[in-house]
């Protein structure tokens, strides 16, 4: 598989505090890649940098071998995000919300309408078209959020805690849908989640703590090297070790 995203020695500071320290890894085309870590580990900052929302202090990000340009329309057209908290307007209908966002990519109302309807059908949400977004259930909102993220048929889709707040049934439905869409559009998916079992199907997992890479490998390989049965145990072991090392270092 080709490398879609290559990150080398990435570092970022906010208010003189190092949030990311010399991070290096790569994401291959078509893979499901998970970024795990406790709150404050640097996950959001890392994603902001890959999205081009902030500039790194050091290091390099390559997208399809080209250096990431924060204002590049080409790069923006490749990437999309399903945010943890919805970014659509509750007062507008699903149709209005999607038409407005679709217009960003096609600059034509007729084409925007066609695109919005097509992507809503992809998430099996055509029946929601004329409903006000604010009255939808959590699962329905997530479907529309995913339809919004698909408007540019991204090569790289970020899912930021995609199932937070959903019941077990809706979570299972959501994952079925995500896998279907990944196959259909041959997308690369980057997932951040607190539910470890959702990361078990990933091709590769990156574990971060205090801005450093603590582990980076396939889930099975991680379980094997840490002698754990579940990814959750691997995560806890790594975090524990990280803390011990930090304490030793402090002493």
């Amino acid at each position: 598989m080709n490398e879609l995203v290559t990150i080398s020695n990435l570092a970022k500071q906010y208010n003189h505090q190092e949030v990311l320290k010399a991070i290096s890894f790569s994401i291959h085309e078509g893979e499901l890649f998970s970024i795990l870590g406790p709150n404050g580990a640097g996950k959001s900052t890392l994603i902001s940098l890959i999205l081009g929302l902030a500039k790194p202090d050091a290091g390099e990000i390559l997208l399809e071998g080209k250096k990431l340009e924060t204002q590049s329309i080409e790069h923006k057209s490749m990437i999309s995000v399903v945010f943890q908290n919805s970014i659509l307007d509750p007062a507008l209908t699903v149709k209005e919300n999607l038409f407005i966002r679709a217009y960003f990519y096609v600059n034509n109302w007729k084409e925007a309408k066609r695109l919005a309807k097509e992507k809503l059908a992809d998430v099996q949400g055509s029946h929601l078209l004329n409903k006000r977004y604010g009255v939808l259930s959590g699962g329905e909102k997530r479907k529309v959020d995913i339809a919004r993220a698909l408007l540019n048929t991204p090569k790289l889709l970020f899912l930021d805690e995609p199932t937070t707040g959903l019941d077990i049934g809706s979570r299972a439905d959501m994952w079925r849908l995500i896998h279907q869409l990944k196959e259909k559009y041959r997308m690369t998916i980057v997932l951040t989640t607190h539910y470890m079992e959702e990361a078990k199907d990933s091709d590769n997992v990156l574990m971060l703590d205090a801005g450093r890479v603590m582990a980076y490998d396939a889930p099975e390989a991680l379980k094997k090297s840490y002698h754990c049965l579940t990814l959750e145990d691997v995560f806890l072991t790594i975090m524990e070790k990280g803390r011990e090392n930090y304490e030793c270092f402090s002493l």
Partner: protein, 280 residues
């Protein structure tokens, strides 16, 4: 950019509270004059033939000016609300430039304010003709009023956009707008006649860009009501009420002030918004 303007307009007009809120500043001023200050001001202008008509026209010009400023507050806050949530981030990762995002917010604010100001102009004209027994504006006067209102709304939108560019939290901005709204009424000499303010404050009023627009609106609305008045008395009253400022009777200078200050506000606001790095 069109999509962002459409979004701004849709969100504003679907929010009844925001629409009603845009008229509140203007409504407060009408109530203030009809029930409280109007009578005493009419009494102080007894040298004129039609003092009530002069006060009504002057007050309604202020109402139009206040409406052009207060109607921008609701829509300009959308930008801050979007920044607080991830909506702004969503726009930033979409294939549109930061400048177009800014212009989208600005033009939706401008169009909303323009529509509301035009409604207030129509209501003011009906009030003047039906209740105050004044004359209809002529077509050239109406044309000039439209152009001046357009520029005043443009300046108000740019000014509010400039103020909003400093805020990242809607709570803080709401607190500030609660002060800014009434302050604009005083700074443009709408709530109290400019002549009755202390000299230092008069200077501030004179150099406040929005005052130029409101002075022109006053001049157009009161043009017909001074036609039968004694010239020296009319000149004195015009200075007192801020219909003429510093003896300037031309329209070129106030229009230049409106255009230049609008551009300055917009440039500083865009720079201010652009320099802020988005943090997720």
């Amino acid at each position: 950019m069109n999509a962002l303007v459409y979004r701004g307009l849709s969100l504003f007009f679907k929010n009844r509270q925001a629409v009603i809120g845009s008229f509140i500043g203007a409504a407060i001023m009408i109530i203030l004059y009809v029930f409280l200050l109007g009578e005493s001001l009419v009494g102080s202008l007894s040298v004129l033939a039609q003092p009530k008509l002069v006060v009504d026209a002057w007050m309604l010009a202020g109402v139009i000016g206040i409406a052009s400023a207060s109607s921008t507050l609701g829509s300009v806050s959308l930008m801050i609300r979007d920044k607080e949530s991830n909506v702004y981030t969503d726009f930033m990762i979409s294939p549109i430039s930061k400048s177009k995002i800014m212009l989208g917010y600005f033009f939706s604010t401008f169009l909303i304010s323009l529509l509301i100001t035009l409604v207030v102009i129509v209501i003011a004209e009906i009030y003047l003709v039906v209740l105050s027994k004044g004359e209809f504006l002529t077509l050239p006067q109406f044309g000039l009023l439209f152009v001046v209102s357009l520029l005043t709304v443009f300046c108000s939108s740019a000014f509010m956009f400039f103020i909003a560019s400093f805020f990242r939290r809607i709570d803080t901005f709401s607190t500030v707008t609660a002060v800014i709204g009434p302050l604009i009424g005083f700074l443009t000499g709408c709530y109290v006649p400019i002549g009755s303010l202390p000299e230092g404050v008069q200077k501030v009023v004179e150099y406040f860009p929005l005052t130029s627009g409101i002075v022109l609106i006053r001049r157009i609305l009161t043009e017909n009501v001074f036609s039968s008045a004694d010239k020296s008395a009319a000149t004195m009253v015009k200075e007192e009420l801020g219909i003429v400022m510093s003896g300037q009777t031309g329209i070129a200078l106030p229009i230049a002030i409106l255009v230049i200050s609008s551009c300055l506000f917009l440039v500083v606001a865009s720079w201010n918004v652009k320099r802020v790095e988005v943090k997720r």
